[in-house]
């Protein structure tokens, strides 16, 4: 069609002219910025990389971030024409079938998926990912992409070892094993039975129950009989049991893992028995050790045998712990006894064994056919799809090899199934061209997206019935799956990676400035006397954010609730940190906010603000990077090589940290820094009224004030130090800033309002992109542009609601791997 072609050409010429005029200055032939020359744009697009550039240019034009304000601006009409032409070009020349591109869709399971899959496949709560090399990660990106998830010999060997561990655990020997038991009682006349937060005496329940013998494998049952004592004003507290090294003597490095937590409530005034179940393999034991009595060279050699200790912990924390209040105002647990039994099962062999080695008439008659049955059933679940005859044959052959050399049927089966668990069919998501697998691939995509694990029986059944092409069926499955507790794995993983939450836990907190932010100290104690092994406020902050994302999805809120909302997910501890007084209790729940609270939306979360501070002061650059990456969906480039350091600056001394914003200002006037920081700092400055640990703090001490740290000699209580800080804080913090488009804002509230009005499309697009990338398990590319656009449109039509968006993603052709 010569006419259309001619028209295209002239359009292209117009565009080239547009890019020449408005972009050519920086994106010219020689040494173009961002290594992108736009002079012959977009004629030149032919490779994947070129197309990525087309999409990037398109995005920047749409959002108005290019050309920069201090350059000539195109008329809105011109801009629109250029945008439309680019979109047309994408649609006509590239199409949106991104699954056809050269990037692979097959990849191995991530460690997270691997552990979940093993647990769901075998029905036992075994932690196996800890034996694998860690997966790579990159802040704000999801790591379950083919690029990140590579295989090496080392890793494969670990999978083989893990497979053995898993099978040893799940298939038991026919004869019931020896049962290991232990029990300890605290008798009122003899020992203290009360378990306080700290300061517990020897012989109290804080010593825990020491276990001397236990099986190599097995489920355990731990029971505790306990009640709580609640002084006025307290309502509940978590009683946690942990098992591993003894916590009585060490202060921080002793490994242990959690057995379980129960919330003791005021209404529970009678002591009750609480039961916990877990796998013995998950807990570290303290190896045998020897020491000389009295610590001298000649003292008697004492041997302490290998042991595991179950320790109960009173995790009460209402946020006032560090104010040296009397222990009498805190609740205590009263513990009657703790007991332990392993292996524990109501039946023998246990259900997880019977699930694999099920009852069958063949079992005793014809062991070869029985083995075949067992193998076939297991492979179907492990490979998460129908199994071919030749595959079954292959594993039957493996079984024969093993059965020949050992007479033990169970052992031969263990070895055979272990081979299946190190096979690529188990370890990989395989994007097969085989049409008979298509339904199962969809089922797998759904379950790995929403559960981080394999499909369950109902999903397999629907796939077998071939119903997963029906959008209605997909919708009902998605909603069912999100309502299942397994979806919490997805929420957790999504939030942590998308929002970069792990930084919050590892940032070094300035302990003088924020005394006891991380550790509790009560009356009469000094700094350093920390009560170890307790979750800190930072853990609660991360929980808060995950619970918030979960709540948004569960109650189908709009994606703009990420920016602002009238509720928060808090418990007493968090509320106290944020200065909200009327929240009681330790479980995180939905709390209605008042405008006065200065809370609402992710940007006010302690996890985000703390993780993106220096630990002593706010860090506008970190916070800006977070905002642009996580919320606006920009890709902020790494700092380049050869940038001069800031230390030439005369005010750069570590105690004068308050001048950070001023220093940044200086930073932006230096040409070498300006180029990147002009796009960063303005966003970050809006967060300045929130301090390094995420509290709203509009007043600070004047510049160059030397702030003394907490000093127990001067400060009787923590509130004394707080008073001192309030008293010297006489200057209003400025959170004013001029955003790249020239808008002036004066607070985080202003920034939120700006994002909700001026950047709503960008925010919605960013949310779509993140969820889509997570769902597909790969980075997005130029081919996905139109998919994203139509998902954003669809999302707009149903009010940008998040759960609906997840449904739309799962119904989209790219997710279903269909040609469009």
């Amino acid at each position: 069609m010569p006419i259309a072609a001619a028209q295209n050409l002239s359009n292209n010429d117009q565009q080239t002219d547009f890019f020449h005029r408005y972009c050519g200055d920086c994106h010219g032939e020689t040494d173009p910025k961002a290594e992108t020359s736009l002079l012959h744009f977009p004629h030149s697009a032919s490779t994947e990389k070129d197309w990525d550039k087309v999409v990037r240019a398109l995005t920047k034009l749409q959002s108005g971030s290019m050309p920069p304000l201090d350059y000539p601006q195109p008329l809105p009409k011109e801009r629109e024409a250029a945008v439309n032409q680019l979109r047309l070009k994408l649609r006509n020349e590239l199409g949106s079938d991104s699954n056809k591109t050269l990037t692979p869709n097959s990849r191995r399971l991530s460690n997270f998926e691997y552990e979940n899959t093993i647990q769901d496949l075998l029905g036992i709560d075994l932690h196996l990912a800890k034996h694998l090399p860690e997966d790579p990660s990159k802040p704000y990106r999801f790591n379950q992409t083919p690029d990140f998830l590579r295989m090496t010999g080392e890793r494969l060997q670990r999978y083989q070892e893990n497979a053995r561990r898993a099978l040893d655990a799940v298939i038991v020997d026919p004869t019931p094993p020896k049962i290991h038991q232990a029990r300890r009682e605290w008798i009122p006349e003899k020992n203290p039975r009360e378990l306080a937060i700290e300061g517990n005496k020897r012989g109290s329940p804080a010593d825990g129950l020491s276990i001397k013998t236990w099986p190599t494998h097995g489920t355990y049952r731990v029971r505790i009989k306990a009640s709580g004592k609640f002084p006025e004003g307290t309502t509940d507290f978590p009683l946690r049991l942990v098992m591993g090294y003894s916590l009585a003597s060490d202060i921080g490095a002793a490994p242990f893992t959690t057995v379980g937590t129960v919330y003791l409530k005021k209404s529970d005034d009678h002591s009750q028995v609480y039961e916990f179940f877990g796998r013995i393999e998950n807990h570290p034991s303290e190896p045998e050790r020897q020491y000389r009595r009295g610590g001298t060279r000649t003292g008697n050699l004492v041997t302490i045998p290998e042991a595991m200790v179950i320790t109960p912990q009173n995790l009460f924390d209402d946020g006032t712990l560090n104010d040296r209040l009397d222990l009498a105002t805190r609740p205590t647990a009263v513990i009657d006894w703790i007991d332990f039994e392993s292996p524990w099962s109501e039946t023998w062999p246990p259900p997880h064994h019977q699930r694999i080695l099920f009852d069958s008439p063949m079992q005793n008659k014809d062991s070869a056919s029985y083995a075949r049955q067992v193998i076939e059933t297991f492979l179907g679940r492990a490979f998460r799809r129908p199994v071919r005859k030749e595959e079954i044959d292959r594993y039957v052959r493996i079984h024969e090899i093993h059965h020949l050399e050992t007479d033990n049927f169970e052992e031969a089966i263990r070895k055979t199934l272990a081979a299946a668990l190190s096979s690529s069919n188990f370890l990989y998501h395989i994007n097969s061209k085989d049409v008979s697998f298509q339904q199962f691939q969809i089922a797998n995509r759904l379950s790995y997206f929403l559960w981080g694990s394999m499909p369950d029986e109902p999903l397999f059944e629907i796939a077998t019935a071939g119903q997963l092409n029906d959008p209605k069926v997909i919708e009902s499955q998605v909603r069912r799956m999100l309502a299942d507790p397994k979806s919490r794995r997805f929420i957790d993983q999504l939030s942590r990676q998308w929002l970069g939450l792990d930084k919050c836990i590892s940032i070094p907190i300035h302990t003088k400035r924020f005394p006891r932010f991380l550790h509790l100290v009560s009356r009469g104690q000094h700094a350093g006397d920390e009560v170890p092994f307790r979750p800190t406020i930072r853990d609660a902050m991360v929980e808060e954010t995950i619970a918030y994302v979960g709540e948004l999805i569960d109650s189908n809120q709009t994606c703009f609730s990420l920016i602002d909302s009238d509720f928060a997910m808090l418990n007493e501890r968090l509320a106290s940190h944020y200065g909200i007084t009327d929240v009681r209790g330790h479980q995180i729940r939905r709390v209605q906010l008042t405008p006065k609270s200065s809370l609402g939306g992710l940007m006010t979360h302690g996890s985000i603000l703390t993780g993106n501070s220096t630990g002593s002061v706010p860090h506008p650059v970190y916070r800006a990077v977070w905002l642009r990456e996580a919320i606006l969906g920009d890709e902020v480039r790494d700092p380049p090589a050869d940038v001069p350091s800031l230390e030439e600056n005369p005010t750069d001394k570590k105690d004068q940290t308050l001048t950070f914003a001023e220093r940044l200002n200086l930073h932006r006037t230096k040409t070498s820094c300006r180029e990147c920081h002009a796009w960063l700092d303005p966003w970050g400055l809006a967060f300045e009224q929130y301090d390094a640990i995420g509290r709203f703090q509009p007043m600070v001490p004047p510049m160059n004030t030397r702030i003394r740290g907490y000093d127990p000699k001067k400060d009787e209580t923590l509130s004394d130090y707080t008073k001192y800080l309030t008293q010297i804080s006489t200057v209003k913090v400025s959170a004013s800033s001029t955003l790249p488009d020239g808008t002036v804002i004066n607070s985080l509230e202003d920034l939120k309002a700006y994002l909700l009005t001026k950047k709503s499309n960008q925010v919605a697009t960013s949310v779509v992109r993140r969820l889509l990338s997570y769902a597909l398990g790969r980075d997005l590319n130029a081919h996905d542009y139109l998919t994203i656009e139509s998902l954003v449109e669809k999302s707009k039509s149903n009010g940008y609601r998040l759960q609906d968006l997840i449904v739309s993603i799962c119904q989209s052709p790219v997710f279903l791997n269909q040609a469009q």
């Binding site: 692979p104 990159k138 590579r150 060997q157 030749e390 370890l427 002593s616 700092p639 090589a641 940038v643």
Partner: protein, 456 residues
């Protein structure tokens, strides 16, 4: 109380002759495949992150404007002028090792020049140019050696890191790479490393180990067959992804074959109780020392001859490592902050602390006699970072070379490779490879040997 890496008294016991190891070294030498017992030539590469404090040489080479100033007490570089070494505060831990160390100024990998400010650590041991389209790394120096000579020991190489795993592009947590796109995950758990090195059979008797190995071989065959069957059902890109799996299977096969060859050789008996293998990164000094001890033991027992050790990666922001300066000196920032702010009171002490740990390792080698010298004489140890003083500068690395005095190296000097004398860091790598008997013609962008550091 935190436990020490070495329990009381045992440190004394182990110091010097390595008394905890019951097997005499010569006997262990007889394991080697060569008929006549030749002494091993060993190599170790270790990396510290975020550069070092050198106020007189912020770009990594001396600032001529400061030429008339005395050399600062606190600078990673021990002294000012090329020639015989004298030591300042930062480098003082190496003073007792004066005749075993050289400092080299002005060296770097051109491949790292254009990488992001923190990505050049990826190529420290490879010298690869990663700015190309593929962005894949290349083979690292230890693996070049291991490929050729690795069969002589139970393990071809030992790859350690404090953070573990491979990390991702631009954020490697390992120094070792088998080739493009094939980083080797580093090990970071002392207990696990110990067991892998010295208890590979997990208490099983020889027959059952042999049986297991035999089974494993036949299983691997079946697994290979299975995966090959899969290949023709996949698109080209997906096939390539599955090729990674096949490669890994072959790698494991290699390991199995190797284990079969080594099964008859007795394992060195190393007493685990002398190490605190449960030490974690929350106890920085003992954690690092325990890792260094494990490398030492692996070399001493000739379990391997090539090791790499990523002391801290360029992305330690998510790990406990970034808090080391906080634990040690109460510094309010993380280790990355030090590289940007270069606080006068902390930076030097931080470097000195890192030097102390490395010197501890070198001393253990030096204090262990071997033939007519000591272990350090026959172990060449590289220690450096991919940044100088300025945080994101990727030129003129701080580089220290130690040991290998009987492999041809001559130490005790500061060398400058600046101006006309500038040469690629890969030249040093080439010389290191030659010194341990690896006859390669080139490594990365090398242009020749580095004759300056060899004995005349």
């Amino acid at each position: 109380m935190k436990q020490k890496s070495w329990h009381l008294n045992r440190r004394e016991l182990l110091r010097g002759a390595g008394a905890a190891i019951s097997l005499p070294l010569l006997e262990s030498m007889c394991w080697s495949n060569t008929a006549a017992p030749t002494l091993p030539k060993r190599m170790m590469v270790s990396y510290f992150s975020y550069g070092a404090y050198m106020p007189e040489a912020k770009s990594g080479v001396p600032d001529q404007r400061l030429a008339d100033q005395p050399h600062p007490d606190w600078s990673w570089w021990p002294c000012k002028n090329p020639g015989p070494l004298s030591f300042n505060e930062s480098s003082s831990p190496f003073e007792p090792l004066k005749h075993y160390v050289s400092y080299l100024q002005g060296l770097d990998h051109a491949g790292g020049w254009k990488l992001g400010g923190h990505s050049s650590g990826d190529v420290f041991a490879t010298g690869a140019d990663m700015t190309g389209l593929d962005k894949t790394n290349n083979i690292s120096i230890d693996q070049v050696a291991a490929r050729l000579n690795g069969h002589q020991t139970r393990y071809p190489s030992l790859v350690l890191g404090t953070e573990g795993g491979t990390g991702s592009y631009g954020r490697c947590k390992t120094l070792s790479h088998l080739g493009p796109g094939r980083p080797i995950p580093s090990l970071n758990k002392p207990r696990e490393i110990f067991d892998r090195l010295f208890r590979p059979y997990d208490g099983q008797d020889k027959t059952s180990v042999q049986q297991n190995l035999k089974n494993q071989t036949s299983l691997l065959d079946l697994v290979l067959e299975e995966s090959r069957g899969l290949q023709n059902r996949l698109g080209a890109a997906d096939q390539r992804k599955l090729d990674e799996y096949l490669q890994s299977v072959r790698e494991v096969e290699g390991r199995v074959a190797r284990s079969s060859r080594w099964i008859d050789r007795e394992l060195p008996s190393v007493d685990a109780s002398t190490l605190n293998l449960e030490v974690t990164e929350e106890d920085p000094e003992n954690f690092l020392r325990c890792m260094y001890d494990l490398i030492f033991l692996a070399l001493q027992t000739d379990t391997t001859r090539y090791a790499t050790f990523m002391l801290e990666s360029e992305q330690s922001g998510a790990s406990e490592l970034q808090n080391y300066a906080h634990y040690l000196f109460g510094y309010s920032g993380n280790t990355h902050d030090i590289s940007h702010k270069r606080p006068d009171d902390i930076s030097g002490r931080w470097d000195q602390w890192r030097a102390k740990q490395h010197a501890y390792f070198l001393k253990r080698l030096r204090d262990t006699p071997e033939a007519d010298g000591n272990m350090l004489d026959r172990t060449v140890v590289l220690w450096g970072s991919a940044h100088p003083h300025q945080a994101h500068n990727t030129r003129n690395y701080p580089i220290q070379l130690a040991g290998g005095n009987q492999l041809g190296f001559q130490h005790g000097h500061l060398h400058q490779f600046i101006g006309d004398r500038k040469v690629p860091l890969a030249n040093l790598f080439l010389s290191m490879l030659h010194s341990v008997g690896i006859p390669v013609d080139q490594f990365a962008d090398s242009t020749g040997e580095m004759s300056e550091i060899f004995q005349p």
